[in-house]
Amino acid sequence: MDDQTPPEAVATVDLEIPAEIEDVWSALTTDEGLADWMGANATIERQANGMVHFPDPVTGRPRSGIVEHIETDREIAFTWWPEDDPSDVTDVFITLEPAGDNTLIRVVETPAALTSTVASSIAPVSSLPALVIADWTWRLALLSVCHVAIYV
């Protein structure tokens, strides 16, 4: 990347996991599954507006959040923040796709304030039904367009 080009404030990670999509989904959205990688005592209310709590051993900073969108075996989006700094709010979008016997998982994280801005800056204007993007399904669709535009 040219050092003078402003990067998008979007972090993206893809990984192909040798497991079936139902098992990955369970690891993402059940307390038992989350305990194995997000820390013991991780909790999730598996519904829109449900609360999440992740001890997050990777950073050592427990996080809380709210589920914004959930579609079984396909995608989950939540807003979260470190409990020691609730002002650091970001949106996380996790999508799953089958890849043969494996599952492709994609995580996109962006500052919460930018979610609609980043997405709408990349999506074709003609595809925007309104300037106000309130629906999370629509925002997710825009983010996938955004991802393709940036990383392909």
Partner: protein, 105 residues
Amino acid sequence: MPPSGDIFAAVGDPTRRRIFERLTAGGPSTATALAAEFEITRQAVAKHLAILAAAGMAKATKVGRETRFEADATALAELREWVTQVEGEWADRLDALAKSLSKKK
């Protein structure tokens, strides 16, 4: 620590990104000249430049009666660091997720 909201706001707007890229590639310019190039009002350009300056991405210099703006890329390092850090954290989380699933097989 995440970068300040100023830099997220600065890079989140496509016109501001284009103005910044123009200042980087084409050298210093004024709000009036940029307004002509981008075919938007001088007031709109001035607002974008003020936001870029607040984020540490542009510097203003008075030259006679003109104010010239030049790009300052140093603030971008902070943003790149944030992206790299968050991607690294997710890579580690997903690695742990994959390991937890492989143990169950």
